[in-house]
């Protein structure tokens, strides 16, 4: 269990580094588009497109980190008033729902990614599978972290179960 947790920690840190590097790249490309629009009076198509694609990856991978850190907005007030047993049951149910949703979207996301392989993006001229791939990859991480959360929620002492979230 310790080893698995360690591995998941590493995966989260890797995602964080990837997201931050994407964000830095988006920022530099963004500056480039603004500068180009002023100097040559026309915007370059490829940075604009690349920023949007990096953003897609950033959101899906960032969502997974946010899930592991219990940061996704939820309404925890009502559950927090439940007695311990029901509270635990409700939280586990909520995580099961999340895991099921991530699984479904991951499967359909894989189908979609495979189907859009022949499509080529207008400016960068890469396969759109590279962009759509963010959906199943992000969902896969979300699913893994949801399973980890299920294990935590079923084992943690009642008073350590988190209900808040912003």
């Amino acid at each position: 269990m310790q080893a698995i947790r360690k591995l998941l920690d590493i995966s989260e840190q890797t995602l964080a580094v990837v997201c931050i590097l994407s964000f830095v790249a988006m920022f530099i490309l963004g500056i480039a588009t603004v500068v180009f629009r002023f100097i040559i009076q026309s915007s370059l198509a490829f940075p604009d497109e690349l920023i949007r694609y990096l953003f897609v990856w950033l959101i899906f991978l960032g969502s997974a980190i946010a899930f592991r850190r219990n940061m996704h907005a939820a309404i925890g007030v009502l559950v927090s008033y439940l007695p311990a047993t029901f509270k635990r049951a409700s939280l586990i149910f909520a995580t099961l729902i999340s895991a099921f949703f991530f699984l479904v979207i991951m499967i359909y996301g894989i189908d979609l990614t495979l189907r859009v392989r022949p499509q080529i993006s207008p400016a960068l001229e890469v396969s759109m599978a590279w962009v759509y791939g963010a959906v199943p990859v992000g969902m896969a991480f979300l699913l893994v972290y949801a399973i980890e959360l299920l294990v935590i929620q079923s084992r943690a002492p009642a008073d350590e179960l988190l209900t808040e979230g912003h």
Binding site: A16, C19, I20, F23, V24, M26, F27, G30, I31, T33, V34, R37, D48, I51, R52, Y53, F55, V56, L58, I59, F60, L61, G62, S63, I65, A66, F67, R69, M71, H72, A73, A74, I75, G76, V77, L78, V79, S90, L91, F93, A94, I97, S98, F100, F101, V104, I105, Y108, G109, D111, L112, V131, Y132, A134, V135, P136, T163, E164, G165, H166
Partner: protein, 423 residues
């Protein structure tokens, strides 16, 4: 039948503490399954919502706010506010309120504003003898201008959902933000008497000039950003990118921005953006599904019938959103309910920009009302005062904010005058 299934499952999932984004997505899955539509559309829609240039203003404005709260700018803005209003009765309370409004012009979110200004004001207010509850309540309430004074994450979301010009929405938010700031300054003047704190001397106009010079670069930023947007030089997204660059340059110039702080700023901005956008993605699917089922039109004509006219309709909207705001994250609420409430507002001939401002002010108030008010959580973390005891002190602020909301709702020129002059 499908309508009942979608909304029923959505509400049940929310009550059971399923994350809002998942609740939106899951109830959409149920609706699609009942309508016999391939679930692939969920993946498709979630993807295409992100693939939008106007929405990119959100991560960049969040990042700009994070960088500016680490770069020593909040301290300089507070210094300038202190030289202006520090000598008044309840001086430091007034400094917190005015400083928050200055910071609101750099940042697009309430949470960032409370964290930045609260972090600077907490200790000085404690030393001057303000009760910690009063400090917490004041910095939390002052943060409400964060999402009203442009830039504003809520107004960007509203603009993207409805297709209304984000530039117009920003312009319309300016005067309501100032109104809220002034009304809270007045309230603080009366509340602070009971705090029994000592007064400080007026430092003189030389001090105003000195602190103005110290805060000059942060104060110049909103001027550049806003004049750039209205002068047609930047789109809001480009303005957000320029804001990040500006924050970096000023932070480096002041030698207050370390590499570690910058890394944290980027990381926090990644997480906040992901949380907002994950909801936006799922809400995109949900809104699409209810629209093809003609649900907003149905609700809208039903609401139009019971309201009868725009005045009653706006009152109903306000009461409803105040309740929603107590329970739900503001960004989630604005993307979910705009698609439902907006069509009826249009059928009553309410100005779309005004409607955006009303919704944003209303949901901003939700950030200081229990049980789920994000400003309260942050103020509580900064001051180490429990949410319960902040609530016992903050209610006069909430009443004044509701009064402001009614003024903004029923005197459209508060929001729209600037748009008519410059728009």
């Amino acid at each position: 039948m499908i309508t009942a299934a979608i909304f029923g499952s959505f509400i049940i999932l929310l009550i059971l503490r399923v994350p809002i984004a998942v609740a939106l997505g899951f109830s959409s899955v149920i609706g699609l399954w009942l309508s016999d539509i391939s679930l692939e559309i969920v993946a498709q829609r979630m993807f295409s919502t992100n693939n939008s240039f106007p929405l990119l203003a959100i991560p960049f404005f969040i990042l700009a706010g994070e960088i500016m709260s680490t770069g020593g700018m909040s301290r300089r803005l507070v210094g300038f506010a202190a030289s202006l209003v520090g000598h008044l009765t309840g001086g430091l309370g007034a400094v917190a309120i005015l400083g928050s409004s200055f910071f609101a012009a750099l940042s697009g979110s309430n949470a960032a504003t409370v964290a930045a200004i609260g972090g600077v004001m907490n200790q000085p207010m404690e030393e001057k003898g303000y009760r910690p509850q009063y400090t917490a309540a004041t910095i939390a309430a002052a943060g409400v201008t964060g999402m009203i004074i442009p830039p504003s994450i809520l107004l960007i979301l509203f603009g993207v959902v409805t297709g209304i010009s984000i530039a117009d929405l920003f312009l319309a938010g300016l005067v309501p933000g100032v109104l809220i700031c002034v009304s809270m300054l007045i309230l603080n003047r009366f509340l602070a008497v009971r705090e029994g704190v000592e007064k400080t001397e007026f430092q003189g106009s030389a001090e105003i000039w000195r602190s103005f010079k110290a805060a000059f670069w942060p104060l110049l930023m909103p001027v550049i950003i806003l004049s750039g947007i209205y002068g047609g030089v930047f789109t809001p997204t480009e303005a957000a990118i320029v804001a990040v660059l500006y924050g970096l340059v000023v932070g480096l110039f002041y030698r207050e921005l370390t590499f570690a702080a910058l890394y944290r700023a980027f990381f926090r901005a990644v997480l906040s953006s992901a949380v907002v956008m994950f909801i936006m993605n799922a809400a995109g699917v949900f809104a699409w599904l209810i629209t093809i089922n003609q649900i907003p039109q149905g609700i809208s004509s039903y609401l139009a019938e019971i309201a009868g006219g725009p005045i009653v309709y706006l009152l109903l909207v306000n009461v409803f959103l105040l309740i929603v705001g107590c329970m739900m994250n503001a960004a989630a609420a604005i993307v979910i309910f705009t698609s439902i409430l907006y069509p009826a507002a249009m059928s009553f001939g309410i100005d779309p920009v005004l409607f955006g401002i009303i919704v944003a002010v209303n949901l901003s108030i939700g950030t200081v009302t229990p049980p789920l008010g994000v400003d309260l959580f942050i103020a509580s973390a900064i001051t180490k005062v429990s949410i319960e005891s902040i609530v016992t002190v903050i209610w006069p602020y909430v009443l004044v904010l509701i009064f402001d909301l009614l003024l903004i709702t029923y005197f459209p020129s508060i929001s729209l005058s600037l748009v008519r002059i410059f728009g």
